[in-house]
């Protein structure tokens, strides 16, 4: 839009600004803004950039910890992992673009999150992703799955960073709004971490990376709007990723970071040049003067508005030490990247832009951050759910079915089935430091810190079924389950990143889901000493008024100090004893068994309360399992989640290519024992001679532990339950997804 | 001038992408499609106006870089700028 466009109420509304927000802008400027200035305010005050609906609630979260060097507020979180090493990580959503153009939406999601990590000086060492798709029968699901997976692989593989883990769910609630949450983990040295505060006056501001085009203008406002039936028309706003340039950018930036030339650096993400320039200046307490003629442009006749709002990918903004610019220029030219000095920091505290010798923007920077709306949206408490009591009619045999059929139904359900079709498309081993990945079926990926004997354990988790039933318990559970996953591989859980996906916050019931989920997360973070160091909020995931289930996706990172002492789901031996750590009450409310077999929570049938998380028990049980691993008392470990004990035992059997036999028990109805989803539980395979010490030590600490079966044979047997061939079950588990994608 | 170059797999070479395209079209009801081949189009902006010289240059470019003559064929046309 030309700078001379007249501002009308309609234009203000189209920019997503309310009347009162517009009046505040006029007040701060002492005049009406021009179109460029309006565009800048609109993106900075959009939900995506200002977090206006979520900020006050996010402020409650625990963000500090012994190993936390940098919490939320920078491009990514930074944690200490000893020896002068740090891990820098974050998760981010790219939901709306992925629905419209799945390949590029997912690809640019991966690109964007990687930039957030390497802009702080970390070499990306692992990517993960949490994906939520609609039900398999929905006409768009297959195309979306194929496109998203293709895009994640296409970008991640080309950049040369292994994609080592993640999770994928299918649920009708995502029919109109899929979720693509991308996580990146990077490694840096503690004395070489870079921040975004542009301190100092008169310092040169440099632009580096791809040229700016007309991509994605107003992507930030798209992320803040719901879809309706015209959404397909929004296709031009989705950007095309260039992983080749991203790889060059990573190498060039890391090379420059090894020198002393950079004062501040930030990647250009949502709201591109606008948000990076403003955030860097605001944090540094300086002003910025940019000459837009110097911005490398891909298209002809780009206007200031377009240049400031473009979301062209693979671009960074940096403030350099004066006199050292030639060092940066030489490095970027070697890597064939566009580099240009586009401005200088000033002492005016204002954002001043010139274009073709005219001043086209002159606004104070402080109000963009300080006056960004901080809404106190009304919310209602989520519905209280009843507990689903046991009923003899829930037993498969009573229903005219069998335990074998039930087990098969769960194994071939989209949430549980093998995701090999997905992760075989990701390079999991480039950089040669992947000790364990999705390949084993284990609970957390393990990536060695290059050149050392230690590793990071990484996982993503969330159970949207639980969150829909009870956002507070669901939020708590998501955090606790990642903590459990890290514990399963013997890691010390350190911190989390979160990607909070919800519907329209203007609806009090959705806002209530958000607030309660955060409260639940917070309780878990505090009890487990497991803070949030970075994160992202994605709201308005609704179509025609139908919201997604509340989905607070959590990415957890832990430290394995000694790679001689980690464990995994593999390593069980024929004849090992299976021990269950943790208490079992046979909780079936909101379980997969209840949903898939009994039909609860579907088609209008009631939703029941999800399994509660006892944080004290989680901590005690997990600390004990971690100690057993450290003392080399276990051969294999797996935590219990979807599908309960039966599925955990079967997954361990598949991973080890060995059957099992579960003993009879009389404390609970068999279906509740096998498929109940009580939390805080671990399945461990131990040598016979370790059984008594492991159990008695557990009991002495007040930790429930019992022998429940034996590893071995070619069958999966549960006394009074199922009796099925390992190979048959494995084949069905492996075939569901590839058969579905090929159909 | 513009050079518009079409590059495709040689006839004897298996083209799984082409095959997939043909099948997908058939599934959608376009039953007149009996086969499909997928290739690529490269457009070059060229200086000057000597068409004959351009043709020699473009052929050289195809042979040396744009087509892998082990498995690909190419054809091209030179058109004047509008």
């Amino acid at each position: 839009m030309s700078s001379k466009v007249k501002i009308t109420p309609q234009i203000v509304a189209e920019h997503g600004l309310s009347e009162s927000e517009y009046e505040l802008i006029c007040e701060r400027l002492g005049r009406t803004p021009n179109i460029n200035e309006l565009g800048i305010f609109s993106v900075m005050w959009s939900e995506h950039c200002s977090y206006k609906s979520s900020r006050r609630h996010l402020g409650k979260l625990l963000t500090k910890g012994e190993r936390v060097i940098q919490g939320p507020g920078e491009n990514a979180g930074v944690i200490d992992i000893d020896d002068g090493d740090v891990i820098i990580f974050k998760m981010e959503s790219h939901n709306h673009p992925s629905y419209i153009e799945p390949y590029q939406g997912a690809a640019t999601g991966v690109g964007g999150i990687m930039r957030d990590v390497f802009t702080m000086g970390a070499r990306p060492i692992a990517n993960l992703n949490a994906l939520r798709f609609g039900e398999p029968d929905h006409p768009k699901t297959k195309t979306l799955v194929a496109g998203v997976v293709h895009g994640i692989g296409g970008y991640g593989n080309c950049v040369g960073v292994p994609t080592v883990g993640g999770e994928t769910n299918f649920d009708k609630g995502y029919n109109g709004n899929i979720l693509v949450n991308a996580m990146c983990v990077g490694h840096a040295r503690a004395d070489k971490v870079f921040y975004s505060a542009a301190k100092g006056v008169g310092n040169p501001i440099f632009y580096v990376g791809s040229k700016t085009g007309r991509d994605g203008i107003h992507g930030a406002t798209m992320a803040s709007a719901e879809f309706d039936d015209d959404s397909d028309e929004k296709r031009p706003t989705v950007q095309v990723g260039d992983p080749f340039t991203e790889k060059l950018l990573i190498e060039a930036c890391l090379e420059l970071m090894a020198t002393d030339v950079i004062i501040a650096i930030q990647d250009m993400g949502a709201a591109g040049l606008t948000s990076s320039a403003i955030e860097m200046a605001d944090k540094g307490g300086v002003g910025v003067h940019m000459n837009l003629d110097k911005v490398p442009q891909r298209e002809r006749n780009m206007t200031p508005y377009e240049m400031m709002l473009s979301e062209s990918q693979e671009r960074m903004l940096m403030v350099l030490k004066p006199g050292q610019e030639h060092i940066a220029i030489e490095i970027f030219e070697k890597w064939d990247l566009d580099v240009a000095e586009v401005g200088k920091t000033t002492d005016t505290g204002r954002l001043v832009l010139t274009h073709k010798k005219k001043k086209v923007c002159d606004i104070p920077i402080a109000p963009l951050a300080d006056d960004a709306p901080n809404l106190d949206r009304p919310f209602t408490a989520p519905a209280k759910r009843e507990i689903l009591a046991h009923d003899p009619m829930f037993d498969p045999v009573e229903r005219g079915s069998s335990y074998n059929s039930v087990l098969e139904a769960l194994l071939t359900s989209p949430d549980i089935c093998s995701k090999r079709w997905i992760w075989e498309q990701y390079d999991r081993t480039v950089l040669s430091d992947t000790v364990d990945s999705s390949q084993s079926g284990g609970d957390a990926a393990i990536v060695r810190v290059h050149g050392t004997n230690k590793a990071v354990a990484i996982t993503t988790d969330c159970t949207p079924r639980y969150c829909l039933a009870d956002p507070f318990e669901g939020g708590k559970q998501a955090v606790a389950e990642t903590w459990r996953n890290l514990t399963c591989v013997g890691a010390e859980p350190i911190a989390i990143t979160d990607c909070l996906n919800f519907g329209n916050p203007e609806r009090p019931e959705i806002m209530g889901q958000f607030v309660y989920a955060i409260n639940g997360m917070n309780e878990a973070c505090r009890a487990l000493d497991y803070p949030v160091v970075s994160g992202n909020v994605s709201l308005y995931n609704e179509t025609n008024g139908q919201a997604i289930p509340p989905t607070p996706a959590i990415g957890g990172v832990g430290l394995i100090k000694d790679l001689q002492k980690f464990k995994s789901i593999t390593g069980a031996k024929e004849g090992d004893t299976l021990i269950l750590i943790g208490a079992s009450q046979g909780w079936i409310g909101a379980s997969l068994f209840a949903q898939i077999i009994l039909g609860f929570g579907r088609d209008g049938k009631p939703v029941y309360a999800p399994p509660p998380v006892d944080l004290d028990a989680e901590k005690a049980n997990g600390d004990y399992v971690r100690r057993l691993i450290r003392d080399r008392r276990v051969n294999a470990v797996h935590d219990l989640s979807d599908g309960g004990l039966a599925i955990a035992a079967v997954e361990m059997a598949f991973a080890n290519k060995m059957g099992f036999s579960l003993d009879a028990q009389n404390d609970l109805p068999n279906y509740a024992w096998l498929f109940g989803e009580d939390q805080g539980r671990y399945l461990i395979a131990v040598e016979k001679y370790s059984v008594n010490p492991v159990i008695s030590t557990a009991h002495s600490k007040g930790i429930p532990a019992q022998k429940i079966g034996t590893v071995g044979g070619a069958k999966l047997i549960a006394a009074g339950g199922f009796d099925i061939s390992l190979n048959d079950a494995h084949m069905k588990y492996e075939n569901w997804l590839p058969d579905y994608m090929a159909s | 001038m513009k050079a518009i170059i079409h590059i495709g797999l040689k006839p004897g070479v298996l083209d799984p992408q082409g095959r997939t395209i043909a099948r997908s079209l058939a599934h959608m009801g376009f039953d007149q499609v009996t086969a499909a081949r997928q290739g690529k189009t490269i457009e070059l902006d060229l200086k000057g106006d000597d068409q004959a010289a351009a043709e020699i240059q473009v052929k050289d470019m195809c042979e040396k870089l744009l087509a892998n003559t082990v498995i690909e064929d190419y054809r091209f046309e030179i058109v004047g700028q509008d």
Binding site: H150, G153, G154, N157, C158, V159, G160, D242, P243, F244, T245, K247, L248, W335, D336, E424, Q425, Y426, D427, R428, T429, V430, L431, S432, D433, T434, V435, Q439, R448, L563 | G12, V13, L14, P16, Q17, T20, K64, L65, L66, N68, V70, I71
Partner: protein, 220 residues
């Protein structure tokens, strides 16, 4: 033994190759930037895997036309040992040092998995140290690994013992299950699997170690 690893824009596996060479030869290799016109004096060159130039136009096509590859072609013609892994194999076919071409995987998807291979040529300078072992497992990770050569070329490869590795369980549609080949003189080898990712029991297994040991021993 002095070795070199060539680095192109977006070669991702150069570090892996360098680490494997350092580990097995006891000496850090030289990292040679693609813009060099002359290869420094070395005994063995590795063209690493990755996505040089983003695989744009065709995998390995642009890298194959770089100045350093022109020099490698000359020196390989005089007997310099060269090994190309994955994208390196693609670059070797594009440069003409090896016959045939690598095309899109038949399944039209990227494939990453541990792959069983059969050693077909046990006497080459790249496989001697495998001794009696004829089956190995090495990671693969590629989108364009489908090896193609016409009938006449295939006959020649078979006759001259130029087929070095075959897939046991073909992951990409390669003709005759070919996973790796060498030139007629036997000093240039290209393979789609990544032996440099199989030199560590913690990662990828150790079936890649004898590959590098073979080269080391052949050059003693």
């Amino acid at each position: 033994m002095k070795s070199a690893v060539i680095v192109f824009p977006a070669s991702n596996c150069d570090r892996d190759a360098a680490d494997a060479l350092a580990k097995i030869t006891g000496r850090d290799p030289l990292m040679v930037w693609h813009e060099e016109t002359t290869l420094p004096p070395v005994d063995f060159v590795v063209i690493p895997g990755g996505f040089s130039y983003g695989d744009y136009l065709r995998s390995g096509a642009i890298a194959a036309r770089s100045p350093i590859v022109q020099d490698i072609v000359r020196k390989a013609g005089n007997g310099l040992p060269v090994a190309g892994f994955c994208n390196g194999f693609q670059i070797l076919t594009e440069s003409g040092l090896l016959p045939g071409a690598l095309m899109r995987n038949k399944g039209l998807r990227f494939v990453c998995r541990p792959q069983k291979l059969k050693i077909i040529n046990k006497t080459s300078m790249f496989t001697k140290a495998y001794k009696d072992q004829t089956e190995i497992t090495v990671p693969i990770a590629h989108f364009d690994g489908n090896y193609f050569a016409d009938g006449e070329t295939l006959n020649r490869l078979k006759k001259n013992g130029q087929i070095v590795f075959k897939y046991d369980g073909n992951p990409n549609g390669s003709v005759n299950d070919i996973a790796g080949i060498c030139n007629e003189a036997g000093n240039v080898l290209g393979m789609m699997p990544h032996p440099e990712r199989a030199v560590d029991p913690m990662h990828g297994g150790t079936d890649g170690i004898p590959f590098f040991k073979s080269v080391l021993e052949s050059l003693r």
